[in-house]
Structure formats: structure tokens, C-alpha cells
């Protein structure tokens, strides 16, 4: 329990672009303890997808790792051979994508696809089928036997996402990465899927890295939350602490902007003024400085480091309170 399942240390990833080196991730450090659900929140462009592709080691051709390590069970994923990495993907680390329609194969029926996921297992075809059925049942699909014959387009959105989750958990991985798995669903199905994920996580005992920009879902599902801004972690800690006592000005702003938090009906919704900094030509000092109301002189020169015990914040002003 003491050594975390996944430990990311000082990870920096860049992309080679026509305009120069785009520093998509800078000095990202966090840990995913075994058996916990960790949420990652942040606006688009904050580096969530780069982070996921780094863990899976599915980099874009123009990406490279500047620095850092991704240690999964005392193995640095960045140093593994392609074959070893391939073995880990699916067996130990698996993934659920945002859009199940595009992550499932449209020309194969569910049964074929679910058997295909078990290609490493030496069990018989009948056993694989039985296992597929059991998995479909576990994710709450009614009448699984008839579903095996159906194609992705014949299923509803909620069903498709359940099938995707069933496939991801088939090998009982120790880490599941879920990239906005409920964005395409309505509120009632969203809650169903989240609860099902929670149950399965408890049964299998895996960890989940849950990426979303839906703050409500994160609040409901996750044990800990990591807030990212422009490629850096700006705050992390137990969900309750971060949502009830946000310390970083960005987290505070983000929470203020969520229409769900605004009790009084209003036509003029709050926004975070300004825009994301240019990641090719990074500003000096704190990355959030230009949009922050509380800036002091030190923010312009010195990059704040993530500090704190369980609830950590990268802000020069944290601790002075606001």
C-alpha cells in the first residue's frame, strides 16, 4: 500500500511544431495509489491528453519526453522495450475513451471484439465467450447473450460505453485510464455509469485515473483530484479538500465558473478573463499570473513549486490564505 501503483515524477513532454517547441507538460508529478480513483480536471489544452498518451506511451510522432519518469510498479515505463510496453497495455493498464462509437470496431459484432480482447489468454473459445458474458453482466447489460451478436451501431450510447468498460476491465487491469467516458451521455446515464465504475473498481481492486472537465462527476467519483492548468499541476489533494477549500486561484476561479454552483439564476455567467498562455513562448514565473487577481511581484519571476503535505498547491500565495 505504501508504494503507489503509478508514480509520475517531474515529467515534461514537448511537441515539435512549425512555430517551435511546444511545452505541453512541464514538471508534472503525482502518484496514483493502488485501489484509488484519481481525477484529473483541467481545461482543454491543459495537457490531459498528452499526459494519458505518455502513460500509455502512445506518443504523437512529433512528441518527445524532455525529462522525468513514469514508474509503474517499480518499472519506468519510459525505459521499457516496445514489446514489454505492449504487454502492459491491455493486461495491466487499459483505457476507456470518450466516444465508444469510434473506439469500438463498427464491422465486428460485440462478441468477436470481446473475444479479440482476450487474445493473450489460452482458454478455449467457449471459455472466452463465457467470460465475455460474465463481464457484460457485470457492467449491467441486460440479456448479454443476445448482445454478443449485435454490432456497435445497434446499441444505445449508454450500452456502448458499458461494452467499452467491460472490454477494458476484461483482463482485470491494475490501472484503468478513463478519458471523459461520460461526456456523451445524459445525466441519468452518467450517474448509472459512474456508480457501475465505482462498484467494479471495488470488486477488481484496480486504480482509476479519471480524466474529465465535468467537475460534478469528479466530485462524486474520485478520492483525490489533480487540477491542471496549461501543462502544469496547480493543485492536488483529497477531493473534499480541493472542492471545499480550493487554494490555488485557478481552482477557485474554475469552481466559481461552474453554472452548477451558482444558485441564483443568471444570464451573465462568470468566466476566467484572459486566455491560455502561449506554450511555445512561455511566460516567466507563474503560468497563471496573467489571469490571476492576486499576483505579487514574486509571481512574475519565480515559478511556484507544488508544496504541501496531502493537499498541495503551486502558488506563492498559498498559506497566506485568500
Amino acid at each position: 500500500m505504501n508504494t503507489p501503483l503509478l508514480q509520475i515524477r517531474d515529467l515534461s513532454v514537448s511537441y515539435r511544431t512549425g512555430l517551435g517547441q511546444l511545452q505541453a507538460l512541464r514538471h508534472v508529478s503525482f502518484a496514483v495509489p493502488a485501489g484509488k480513483i484519481i481525477g484529473i480536471v483541467g481545461e482543454s489544452g491543459c495537457g490531459k491528453s498528452t499526459l494519458i498518451s505518455s502513460i500509455m506511451r502512445l506518443f504523437a510522432p512529433n512528441a518527445w519526453v524532455d525529462n522525468g519518469s513514469i514508474v509503474f510498479r517499480d518499472k519506468d515505463l519510459l525505459g521499457l522495450s516496445p514489446d514489454d510496453m505492449r504487454y502492459l497495455r491491455g493486461n495491466e493498464i487499459s483505457m476507456v475513451f470518450q466516444d465508444p462509437m469510434t473506439s469500438l470496431n463498427p464491422v465486428l459484432n460485440i462478441g468477436r471484439q470481446m473475444a479479440g480482447v482476450q487474445h493473450r489468454s489460452s482458454s478455449s473459445r467457449a471459455d472466452k465467450r463465457a467470460r465475455s458474458l460474465m463481464m457484460l453482466e457485470r457492467v449491467g447489460i441486460p440479456d448479454p447473450a443476445s448482445q454478443l451478436k449485435r454490432y456497435p451501431h445497434q446499441l444505445s450510447g449508454g450500452m456502448r460505453q458499458r461494452v467499452a468498460i467491460a472490454m477494458a476491465l476484461m483482463t482485470e487491469p491494475s490501472l484503468l485510464i478513463a478519458d471523459e467516458p461520460t461526456t456523451a451521455l445524459d445525466a441519468t446515464l452518467e450517474v448509472q455509469i459512474i456508480h457501475r465504475l465505482q462498484e467494479l473498481q471495488r470488486d477488481i481492486g484496480c486504480s482509476i485515473l479519471f480524466v474529465s472537465h465535468h467537475l460534478g462527476v469528479i466530485a462524486e467519483l474520485c478520492d483525490e483530484v489533480i487540477v491542471m492548468y496549461a501543462g502544469e499541476v496547480c493543485e492536488s489533494g483529497p477531493t473534499r479538500d480541493v472542492f471545499f477549500q480550493p487554494r490555488h486561484p485557478y481552482t477557485q476561479k474554475l469552481l466559481e465558473c461552474d453554472p452548477a454552483r451558482i444558485q441564483q439564476r443568471t444570464r451573465q455567467l462568470p468566466v476566467i478573463e484572459g486566455s491560455l498562455p502561449n506554450l511555445v513562448d512561455l511566460p516567466q514565473g507563474c503560468i497563471f499570473r496573467q489571469r490571476c487577481k492576486h499576483g505579487i511581484a514574486r509571481c512574475a519571476t519565480e515559478r511556484p513549486l507544488l508544496a504541501g503535505d496531502r493537499h498541495r498547491t503551486a502558488c506563492h500565495l498559498s498559506g497566506t490564505g485568500s
Binding site: 445525466a187 462527476v217 465558473c257
Partner: protein
Amino acid sequence: MSKLLDVRDLRVRFRLPGNFLSMRGKKPSHVDVVHGVSLDIERGQTIAIVGESGSGKTTLAMALCGLAPVAGGEVYFNGRKLQQDRNSRLNPDRKKVSLMFQDPVGSLSPRMTIRQALAEPFLIHRVAGKNPEEQALRLLSLVGLSEEFADRYPHQLSGGQARRVGVARAVALEPDLLIADEPTAGLDVSIQGEVLNLLTRLQKDMGLGIMLITHNLNVVRHVADQMAVMYLGRFVEQGDAEEIFSHPRHPYTAALLSANPSLDPDAKLGRIELIGEVPSLLQRPAGCEFRTRCPRVQARCKRSFPEPATDTDGHTFNCFYPEPNSHIMLL
């Protein structure tokens, strides 16, 4: 004053790929995606259409723009009946209804600069007396983008910027009605706020009627005047948005509102959880279509379809055993 848009009993029906069985009537040959929808929109008003994916929201929008086959019902726009035949694209009213698609980058041509994309509506509709190039720049400033964006291509824009271009294009010809299909899906809360504030400002300035299609209830609560809840191609509850939020009567609406994940990690009490899956449109349940997932279902729901009932505050719902009316309970 006549209504901006008046839709009566609209039906949209798609043909299914036929085979021998369907010819003999053993398999359904059609699927009704929108099943008898009535609504009206007044100038300067926002109506939100809420419902899960596959409930027919987008098809309804497409039908209103003449992009989906209408099988029945009538659409009146500014008091005139919209023709649904093939040549109706030439109808001058078409200019007055504009549609913002779900995927902002996908709905812009990747081979056109933003300037060209914004000038295009003027060229297509041969708007006289306006220089399309100048108009493009005017539209950019209208949605709060600087002129340097004019020569960029869609892939060089962020999600929020692409939405803004989508808004600019939709209001280019000064429409009376703007249909916005999931205008904030996939956006972060801050940028979502920016886009919605922009729509609100344009609505105020131009007197736009807005039909907002979304499944984000938090957005609906803040921006909608009217709302309609859609389930399997029908409206199950519709009326004043504030009324519906304060006391929903249809069990689906109630579940939808209570399921809205809240930021408060402790707020899980009092949630109505639905079980089961959305039935297929091909096999609509007999009787009330929500009965397969309804927590309040009774024998009568299986037999007959509930006709619309009216609540004391005037909003309508289709249910035999609605949620108790909190108005009456308070008295």
C-alpha cells in the same frame, strides 16, 4: 403578435433498409425519430430542448431547417407555413433560420480560411449591397475575435474560438431564429460561460429566438425561458423553465434533475436513480414509453398512452402518476 416559430405535431420518420420481411410487414419499415412534437418560440426567447442522446433532439433541429424528412405536422415561421418540399431551399424564410452544428471544427471546411467561411453565406444567398469580405471582418469583431483570425484555418483554432466562428456564421445573415445544437459540449466551464454570454448578448441586440439543444441541465437553468424534455422522440414535459426546475412532474424529468452531478461531494441524498436502458426506437414500449425505466410505473401505464396534462402553473406533462405537485403540498 404572431409567434416566431410555431410547430404543430411534427413527425420525422426515417426509412429502414428494406428486405423481404419488411415487405411482408414482419419487420418495421420505418422508424419515427420525432413523434408528434409541438412547440412555439417567441422573438427574443430561449427554449431549451433537453434529453439524452438518441432522443431525437438533433433530428428535430434538422427537420426545422429542412434537413430531415418531415412525415407529418406543420411548421409556421413568422406566421407563414414552411414548405417541406425539395425546392424549399429557395424559400426566403430559410435565411431567417440558422443552425449551429454540434462539432464546430467539423462544420467548418478545413480548406477555407475563416474569412472565406464567414463570407460564404453572403455569396450563397447573393446578398446585394454588402461586401462579403467586409462583412466577414464585422462578424469576427461581433463575436469578439481579432482580425488576425481571418486568415487562419479551422485546425488553427481552439475549441472555444471555433465555437465563436460558428456563432458568427450562424448570425451572418441576421436570422430571426438560431438553433444551437449542443453549443457548449466539450467546452470547459469558463469557455462555456463565454459562449453562452455571447449568445445572450446577440439575442439581446438582434432579438433572436434561440432554440438550445443540450443535455447540460446547469446551462438550461441559467439561460432558458422555456424548456422541453424529450424522451424517445416525444416531449414528456414542457413549459416554463423555472417552473419545471422547481417542481418537475414527469418522473423522467425528476430523475434527470436529481441525477445532475453536483459539485458537493456530499450531495447524493434524494437522488432518483433510474434502472435499465433506453428502449430502441424500433420497439417503442406500448402505453407510456417511459414505463420500462419509471420508478412510479403501474398497471395502467402498460395499457394506454398518457395524454398531456397541465400543471397548475401551466406547464404540461405526459404522465398518469406524476410527481406530487409541490405547489399544492405547500398550501
